[in-house]
């Protein structure tokens, strides 16, 4: 029972807030985004966005749609300009090409 819950928890984490992997880092290189910025973006996405609503899957939107969505909600989530860039970069990389 506990094992099943942990397995499901692990799957949910990977699907909705994927970890910063080498693939994500590689995808973000063209935008001149560092691994640290991706990690910051992931942490902010998981905490600030969750205060208002549950998290959509990162693949729910195309990578070019995420920056506009993040920008629209940045003020509500108390994101600074740097935070906003990190969250958008993480979601762009996680959404894939």
């Amino acid at each position: 029972m506990v094992g099943s819950v942990l397995f499901l928890s692990s799957c949910a984490t990977t699907s909705f807030v994927p970890p910063v992997s080498s693939i994500l880092i590689e995808r973000a290189q063209s935008d001149h985004i560092t691994a640290q910025q991706l990690a910051d973006g992931r942490a902010l996405f998981a905490t600030r966005c969750l205060e208002c609503h549950t998290l959509p899957s990162v693949t729910s939107y195309r990578s070019d749609q995420w920056p506009r969505l993040v920008s629209r909600m940045a003020a509500r989530a108390n994101l600074t300009a740097t935070d906003e860039r990190s969250v958008a970069a993480y979601l762009r990389a996680a959404a894939g090409p």
Binding site: V5, L6, L8, S9, S10, A12, T13, S15, F16, V17, R42, A43, A46, T47, R48, L50, E51, C52, H53, T54, L55, P56, S57, S60, Y61, Q65, L69, R72, M73, R76, A77, N78
Partner: protein, 239 residues
């Protein structure tokens, strides 16, 4: 389908930060640093035929850091048909250890201290939460201690376990349920204890800069000292 999802996400651009999906349970995420919110609680206790008592709380919630929030309950008061009574004021801290979406399990610790006329109260809570996309599963374990009367000589305790689940139909609306199991220990004696069980549905709506969450609970035990029904509304406004 993606177009509809995109529209829904865009329309919550001014959605409320720190919105609550539950009224009797606390969630693991804490408020964003620098955010201020006013949350008003109204709880109605009902018998089979009429209301017995109305309890109110007014809370200012402040996000201190990414993991710490503080709250001041500046007025806890009640009305019981006969009179309005000011009960107490209290302060609360919640520290978040892990995230319910990014980690295996979201964990937070809650501590509230309250005081009123000849009364002092401490409430400690462990909050565990897991999000599976739009589904939120929540567990609270609470230890409550009260000291009342002349010289605060009368003591009482309560242990409570609560579970909740809700599903976010869209970023504005969620539906779910809450279950409370409490053991009331007058003078901390097991021999005088009451065990109560409450369960019922909830609904939450998040608007532009505000939210409202409503829960109705029925008592599934036969404890005479506890109301058969209770309804709680939390109305929050971003400041």
């Amino acid at each position: 389908m993606k177009g509809v999802l995109l529209f829904l996400l865009i329309t919550i651009e001014t959605a409320f930060a720190g919105a609550r999906h539950f009224t009797y349970l606390y969630e693991a995420p804490t408020a964003a640093p620098g955010s201020f919110e006013l949350e008003n609680y109204a709880t109605g206790l009902f018998s089979e035929s009429r209301w017995i008592d109305l309890d109110f709380r007014h809370e200012i919630e402040i996000g201190l850091t990414n993991h710490l929030q503080a709250s001041v309950y500046f007025a806890n008061w009640s009305y019981d048909r006969a009179a309005v009574q000011y009960d107490s004021a209290s302060v609360e801290l919640i520290y978040n250890f892990t995230n319910p979406a990014a980690d295996l399990l979201g964990l937070s610790l809650y501590q509230e201290l309250g005081g009123g006329r000849r009364a002092f109260e401490s409430e400690t809570k462990l909050i565990a939460q897991k999000n599976f996309g739009p589904l939120i599963l929540l567990y609270n374990f609470t230890i409550e201690a009260e000291w009342e009367g002349e010289g605060l000589c009368e003591r009482a305790g309560e242990l409570q376990q609560a579970i909740g689940a809700c599903y976010e139909l869209n970023p504005r609306l969620s539906l779910g349920g809450e279950v409370l199991h409490e053991i009331v220990l007058p003078d901390w004696r097991r021999s005088d204890s009451d065990t109560n069980f409450f369960a019922g549905p909830n609904v939450s709506y998040r608007g532009n800069g505000w939210f409202a969450t409503l829960t109705g609970l029925k008592q599934w035990t036969n404890t005479a000292d506890e109301p058969p029904y209770q309804v709680r509304l939390i109305f929050g406004i971003s400041l």
